[in-house]
């Protein structure tokens, strides 16, 4: 395994093409481990990884937990719910506590955009910081596992070293509030893919003139363009009360991957969803459960990508990183 060590993983925006491809290649090696009888490497023995979750996300947390354990790290799960954090303890005090405990890596999920960046630049803690989703900013490991999944579908066992040059990806749904959309945009663009966003006009940021993507409101037109990848984003029901769209029925009719739209996709295309899905709202069960759906692979690949991330951040001598 090569080890171009990184200090933190805060966003995909500042990830170079070489670093991204290297990480995906390391993830391929990690995926191989999962096929062995003993699914465990000694690489991070003696290292402590803290999963610091200020927002509930069982899926992401257990994925990181599995990744760290397969690398033999000690894992501490720190959920803000029911802890001193819910009694008003500051991010600073929490970080300093983790520093004293001897955390080598901190996987942080936080409702405030930029919280991982603040943690990384604060001097409160010297650990490697992995952004596991911050507000509506970024969710870099989700984008990496999505890219990994696309690359594997396209290139199979010949994936190593490959980019996503020329791959067409339609990302559909709530772009405004989606950290998954942002991380995917930057990473897919870096890897050479062509991104089209499709959403209601109310769910696009105010000024996207600088985003390297096409934008549209018409999902049928996007489907007819036969993209190689259709990625559906989860729509939050509470957006209705904030007048982003009139009703879930209207949303589903205009921007859902219904059976009819799914049927019009090319058989070679793939359907993705970061989960958890609202079946019948943004995606039909037929689409979600079809052979073209990568939903379950995405979960498995998430562990490989997070193993690669932890490995690149925490193996070796951090002082020289």
């Amino acid at each position: 395994m090569s080890s171009n060590n990184m200090r933190h993983l805060l966003s995909t925006k500042d990830l170079s093409r070489d670093a991204a491809i290297n990480l995906l290649d390391v993830a391929e090696d990690m995926a191989d481990v999962a096929t062995r009888e003993v699914k465990k490497l000694p690489t991070l023995r003696g290292k402590t990884v803290v999963n610091l979750f200020f927002e509930d996300s069982t899926r992401t947390r257990i994925s990181f937990e599995a990744a760290a354990k397969r690398l033999s790290a000690d894992v501490i799960n720190f959920s803000a719910k029911g802890s001193s954090v819910s009694k008003g303890e500051s991010l600073k005090d929490t970080a300093q506590t983790l520093a004293e405990i001897g955390a080598d890596g901190v996987v942080i999920r936080h409702p405030a955009s930029g919280a991982p960046a603040v943690l990384a630049s604060s001097g409160w803690i010297d650990a490697g910081i992995i952004n596991a989703g911050d507000g509506t900013h970024e969710h870099p490991t989700q984008a990496l596992l999505d890219a990994f999944t696309i690359r594997r579908r396209l290139h199979g066992s010949a994936s190593r070293g490959k980019s996503l040059d020329g791959v067409t990806v339609a990302i559909v749904g709530d772009i405004l509030h989606s950290r998954v959309a942002r991380s995917n945009l930057w990473l897919l663009n870096t890897l050479g893919a062509e991104v089209t966003f499709v959403s209601p006009p109310t769910l696009v940021p105010a000024d996207v003139s600088g985003w390297p993507a096409k934008f549209g409101f018409d999902l049928d037109a996007a489907i007819d363009a036969q993209p190689e990848v259709v990625m559906m984003l989860r729509i939050q029901a509470e957006r209705m009360s904030a007048a982003f769209f009139p009703s879930s029925r209207e949303y589903s009719r205009a921007w859902g991957l219904t059976d009819a739209r799914f049927a019009r996709l090319s058989p070679a295309s793939i359907v993705m969803h970061p989960g958890p899905m609202n079946r019948g709202l943004e995606i039909s069960s037929a689409a979600a459960d079809s052979a073209r759906s990568t939903v379950r692979e995405q979960v498995a690949n998430g562990v490989s990508v997070r193993m690669a991330t932890l490995y690149l951040l925490l193996s070796g001598d951090r002082e020289n990183a």
Binding site: A117, G135, T136, H137, V208, W211
Partner: protein
Amino acid sequence: MSNEPHLSDSGLSSGVPYLIRGATLPDGTRSDVLLTGGRVAELGHGLSHAGATVIDADGLQALPGLVDLHTHLREPGADQSETVLTGSQAAARGGFTSVFAMANTSPTQDTAGVVEQVLALGERAGYVTVQPIGAVTKGLGGTQLAELGAMATSRARVRVFSDDGLCVSDPLLMRRALEYVKAFDGVIAQHSQEPRLTEKAQMNEGALSGELGLIGWPAVAEEAIIARDVLLAEHVGSRLHVCHLSTAGSVDVIRWAKARGINVTAEVTPHHLLLTEDLVVGYDARFKVNPPLRRREDVEALRAALADGTIDIVATDHAPHPIESKDCEWDAAANGMVGLESALSVVQAAVVDTGQLAWADVARVLSATPARIGRISGQGQPIVVGAPAELTLIDPAARRVFGRADLSGLSANSPYLDMALPGRVIATFHRGTATVLDGVLRDATEVARLNGVLHG
């Protein structure tokens, strides 16, 4: 209080006259300035005065004492952030001789009792004239008018009313407030922010907010309220002051209103004249402020508007916060920056060194006009014989890296720390006594004692 001449006879240092040699006046001419008896006693060349403390002002710019129409002193209620005394010290250090203290204290400055308390605290500190602002609505609640008349007729003689920090968004209440203060020549200073359009807003809405995933504070939320308020002011024939303008669109609305003859004045902060939203990229909460830092185009429009008179004044919106309110994630951080100590340097960097404002214009926007808008006497007057001895001496040629030691208030939430800034306040004179000398703040007990002697 009185401004009796010849207090020097008392033998206390309060009476020590100051002879400032060779200062450059705002109009560009050079002159000696003799301060005695709380007045500008003499101007001219080769002045002498027995017993006077002589200050060599060669190369120094003299300005009338600066007047800040928008200061948060935090007392009563948040004296871990600032007190009337420490805020007054910060003001003196920045060249100010008067500050208008915003009403969002705890308890709120919404009764005669509280504004008189703040006035008294200012008098006791003695560094600057502290003129309380009254709340427009009870407890800043936005539903019921505060006792505006009682505050106006109190010893604090309140003329400026503001719910700053919050917008008087109810159009009927705003109309009534504008009408009511006509009875005592008052003015409503509006914090223009449409609340529904800015729910949970974190930074300027634009390309950067979308990328950073921070909820946007759109320019239209400011412009829509200003447009409504100038029309209301026109309709009821009253006087409106618009706090901290931050967008190019707001400038257009004010320009239109003035051309129409509407009685409106507008203010801009030093930070909106210098800093842009790009600083938010690292999520450093020192740059979190309301209204938020805007685009480069907005900064340029604000500078041009200040230069052409569309914007009337610069005011600091000095907003002290304790360390823990900024040493955290962006969403959790408080809005606001301290600005009194840095204001003149920032204005010099933004509009003087760029050639848009002369020092005479600085005297207008940071002293004469804010004093006039606030209807405060004894402040903002030109440096002429007989004028009150309210004076600031600055060294415009100085350059410094702004640091913690340049702050005299309690809080350090300055966006300018470690930034190179031009200009430095060398001396500030309030009621004829030096509150700052050789760039050093004078001792509080000394200032209080001199002040006590001066007003008996």
